[in-house]
Symmetry: C2
Amino acid sequence: MLTVLGVDAGGTSTRVVVVDGGGRALGYASSGAGNPVSSGADQAAGAVRSATREALRRAETRADGVAHVVVAMAGSSVQPDTRWLTEPLAQLGLTALVTFESDLLATFCAGTPADAGYALVAGTGASAVRVEQGTAAAVSDGLGWLLGDVGSGYWIGHRVVVDALAALDGRAGQTALSSMLLESLGLSSPDRSSRPWEQPGARRDELLQEAVTRLYALRPVQLARFAPLAFAAPDDLVARRIVDEAAQGLLVTLRAVVVPEVSGPVVLGGGTISQHGDLARLVGSALGESDGPQVLTVSDGTVGAAVLALRHAGVTVDEPVFATVTGTLSGLR
Amino acid sequence: MLTVLGVDAGGTSTRVVVVDGGGRALGYASSGAGNPVSSGADQAAGAVRSATREALRRAETRADGVAHVVVAMAGSSVQPDTRWLTEPLAQLGLTALVTFESDLLATFCAGTPADAGYALVAGTGASAVRVEQGTAAAVSDGLGWLLGDVGSGYWIGHRVVVDALAALDGRAGQTALSSMLLESLGLSSPDRSSRPWEQPGARRDELLQEAVTRLYALRPVQLARFAPLAFAAPDDLVARRIVDEAAQGLLVTLRAVVVPEVSGPVVLGGGTISQHGDLARLVGSALGESDGPQVLTVSDGTVGAAVLALRHAGVTVDEPVFATVTGTLSGLR
């Protein structure tokens, strides 16, 4: 029986599934961060290798029987040298060809067996893809924390920090984000009566200076950890504006890849997407169809990596096979 | 005759002046970057030391005859250990007390002998100060490239890059900044007929990817080098919006330190200020007085460092002494 391996190597965690030719998930395992750009090649390769070994063990599948491996990850197109991963996988006994695919394409294929449509991914970063004939035909944004990723977890977390500090600095109106930020930096007790920065003048400069010092001790991209504060304060005008502008930015990124000829489904993925309550509705209306496109949300790209691996192995992934992959995989997680 | 030494240790260059008790500048010299945070303590100390030695030589003044040294620099309040500079200066034979003052206060004192008023500095960073009784009574912004510095050279340069790339990425309308950015990155010939990114589709992704790669090779704060592009394209709507929003941000930073009780002069300084054509007028009207406050622009804080050194040495710096410092120093530069 044909078996393939789908790997979703993300910046936070790595997921591996072994699937047979009928789409049945035989074994699944996960591990830590698997992206060589954000975590370094050694750590990423180690994470992929350990999850792969465990998924094969659980599937009771021999490594040399795997017909194809697909590794889905961000930045796959700009990493021409793939030996950082192909060599560790070969050491497991895998003899199959390893194909690297974009995380955007895997997200699309995790939501639908259609061969055309769109995906919008917002995790720490943000980008969109138009899929035609099963491949990425156009990509927008994904330019990273410093240069783009509008509406991403980094973008929201950075705005939270900048706006919270501006309020503490007297350059903007008060926002609940200021005390939330200070608390998350360990700079205050949650007891409201002991919030010195709410007493005008007193200690404000000292707290502001200490917050700035602690924030510069982080790597910039780690500001993404403050994104949840914006979603946690829906009654705060500043927080709501950040969330709204992030959603609008994500819609702009999606629209940049939309062409009239392709009206397929829109798949949404990534940890930041799921926190936007009404983003799916906004996406539907933004694409401007009277009945609206089908909008689907997926948790990650594992199903998509498996679907892409099946296609590389010559399997036609139709609706029944796709349903088998999603159904049997959810039974293993 | 009493002599003092004023040092303006900036992130780009360092200026040192020797002044006598009457305010006469006796010797002046400049050198490279003198800020230990941005350049490292060794390089900064070397720059201050070499300019100090040369200024003393030109002034024909003995080092051990100097009564006081003031070093004006950004971040002086958060650098408790000053031995990185006091020890190299002592090796020159200087026996005087060395006092560190903020670059903001030195900017104010470079523009006026008044003991109360405001200064707004926008170079690579941006901040404002309210001066009362000759000292900094309140400061706003200056939170650095990642967390604040709204309207600074970094802030403008970052916006130039983000907006130029968004246009290339199809997420925003066209702007002249895109081709200007590519040219400044060495990614095109200035010959208009050979601008491939202006031919829709062709090579755009490749140029965008290469621009992103080259930009991430810079330290983030170096994005300030692209700020001049915004000022160089006054007819471009995107560029004009960036410049306008920078000016508005600087006004907010200034207003955050304004109190009705202090109506003294406003001193503007820093390399980014002078590029804003009408900022001085905006500042005057923003402070909302019918006759408007006196708005002065200074090139750097050298005069201010000398004035502060004179005051530390017990000299009363009135209008005639102040005029002597500025007049004689401009004769030496």
